[in-house]
Amino acid sequence: MIVPATTVVELALVALDGLTKMLALFQKTGEMPEHIDLDDYKMKSAMEILEEERAKREG
């Protein structure tokens, strides 16, 4: 079965670290939080990420 890369990314939309985050919150508080705080998920620009990766290499 061949799955297009875009489909994989769409699956990742609903899973991956979103689920991890939810479970981490659940474990921490003992109950499912009403909402996930979306302020923590503001995307950085490609150039910002490039600079971060460059800085990592330069130590």
């Binding site: 079965m1 061949i2 799955v3 297009p4 890369a5 875009t6 994989v8 990314v9 769409e10 699956l11 990742a12 939309l13 609903v14 899973a15 991956l16 670290d17 979103g18 689920l19 985050k21 939810m22 909402h35 996930i36 979306l38 998920y41 503001k42 995307m43 950085k44 620009s45 490609a46 150039m47 990420i49 490039l50 971060e52 990766e53 460059r54 290499r57």
Partner: protein, 130 residues
């Protein structure tokens, strides 16, 4: 450099979410977080390809433009979901969730265009065999 995404754990996670009786709003919240994490990971792959000289300056410039569209679409989607979080009555929430579909479609289109480009220049694989 090729970015390989592991499919099976994602499918398992998706099943877990479905089994947990996740609400549509929660589904959208996870969409915001998941897209952020995945796109940031892809950005790091491309950034390292650039630093390693695997992609040209022209290819990187094109990618930066496509990535900016993803970032803009994600910003709109995230704001729309955040707005839906503030709604208390179910009828209004249903309206907000309906409108979210447009934001999601724009985000998906932006991601698709960017990934197609990354596939073309050989940074990502175009398909994955299960």
């Amino acid at each position: 450099m090729r970015a390989k995404i592991i499919v099976l754990p994602l499918l398992m996670a998706l099943c877990l979410v479905a089994c947990a009786g996740t609400s549509q709003l929660r589904y959208a919240e996870i969409g915001v977080v998941g897209t952020y994490e995945v796109w940031t990971a892809i950005q790091r792959v491309v950034a390292n390809a650039k630093l390693d000289g695997i992609i040209t300056d022209e290819e990187f410039d094109e990618y930066v433009a496509l990535s900016a569209k993803v970032e803009t679409a994600h910003h709109a989607y995230r704001n729309a979901v955040a707005l839906a979080q503030t709604v208390s009555d179910q009828e209004s929430l249903a309206d907000y969730l309906m409108k979210l579909q447009g934001n999601k479609a724009e985000l998906r289109a932006a991601i698709t265009a960017a990934i197609e480009f990354l596939v073309d220049i050989g940074v990502m694989e175009g398909s994955i065999e299960l």
